[in-house]
Amino acid sequence: MTDAEIVAALAEARKAAAEVPERIREIGRAAYAWRTVDAELAALSADTDTPVGTRAEPAAVRALTFAARDLTIEVELTDDALHGQVVPPRPGEIELRDRSGVVAVAQVDELGWFVLGPIPRGMFRLHLRAGDAVVVTEWITI
């Protein structure tokens, strides 16, 4: 690159940064407050966004798997609820959280099963407390 080219490239790079709406940065700075340091993150390891049923019954069930070190949380999303299981099974308490906070709480039974609902629009995540384990899933967007 010649000096003139590098000056032009710099000018373009700085112009691109100046064009970013301030809201995009504000939202970014605010996101840091959501940092969870007390819970282990369960990463999304499978997402089968697969339509099931016949053509006459076009209900779509989305199945998600979140993997933490010692357990996984499997969930199925239907139109009105979230059905899930903690594997290996262990009883506990699970919360549905959106960006505003906790929106639903359910007990996880001896077989690891739980039902949460209704499913919020937009982003949400699950927060599980079962025995010694405190696990939070990645954010899910519907």
């Binding site: 690159m1 010649t2 000096d3 590098i6 000056v7 490239a9 710099l10 000018a11 373009e12 790079a13 700085r14 691109a16 940064a17 064009e19 970013v20 709406p21 809201r23 995009i24 940065r25 939202i27 970014g28 700075r29 996101a31 840091y32 959501w34 940092r35 969870t36 993150l41 990463a43 960006r99 937009g122 982003m123 939070v136 990645e138 954010w139 967007t141």
Partner: protein, 189 residues
């Protein structure tokens, strides 16, 4: 995509609770997030939703990022996925055009956008590392057309005859910045 060593430092500091390091990461990558949103035709509230989701995912990934250098690539993939989700949601209300090319994994135009963004990020980072007098001088030269030397001279206190050599020294310094070392094509030609 590669990234310069200062990102490693920012990620480590943000991981240990330094909010200013996090803000610096946001500043650094906000243009990448925005550029991809624009590429998918998203702006306003749609782009803000995408950004919110991407930043939250990045926050929770802080502890598990092993290769901070891979961050731009991870961000780009995540922004793209969130844009596609936003477009799917919108499709229920408003028909959108043919998205098949947007969905494609091997999208040369998208790769090109990423490379351009990577270069922008490195250039801005290197610029920020320059001494104040260099940044001031170069900013005056960014104007299109560039400010006349007489004006630059009075604004910077640099004699007219020294502007050219100073500019060259500043640009050489910029080229040597480690942030730019990872980006091909900036060597002096």
């Amino acid at each position: 995509m590669r990234d310069d060593p200062s990102v490693v430092d920012l990620v480590v500091r943000a991981r240990h609770g330094d909010a200013r390091a996090w803000d610096a990461l946001v500043d650094r990558y906000a243009p990448l997030v925005w550029a991809i949103c624009r590429r998918f035709g998203l702006g306003g509230a749609d782009a803000e939703d995408v950004a919110a989701s991407v930043w939250l995912r990045l926050v929770e990934r802080l502890d598990t990022i092993r290769e901070p250098a891979a961050l731009p690539g991870w961000l780009a993939t995540t922004v793209r996925r969130e844009c596609l989700t936003a477009l799917r949601g919108r499709r229920h209300q408003v028909p959108v055009g043919d998205e098949s090319n947007l969905d494609s994994v091997d999208d040369p135009a998208f790769e090109e956008l990423l490379l351009a963004q990577e270069r922008h990020i490195a250039l801005r980072a290197a610029f920020e590392n320059l001494p104040e007098h260099c940044r001031h001088l170069l900013t005056l030269l960014f104007d299109d057309p560039p400010a006349p030397y007489a004006q630059i001279s009075s604004s910077t206190g640099t004699p007219i005859g020294a502007i050219g050599p100073t500019r060259r020294r500043c640009l050489d310094r910029l080229r040597r910045d480690p942030a730019l070392a990872a980006v091909a094509g900036v060597e002096q030609s």
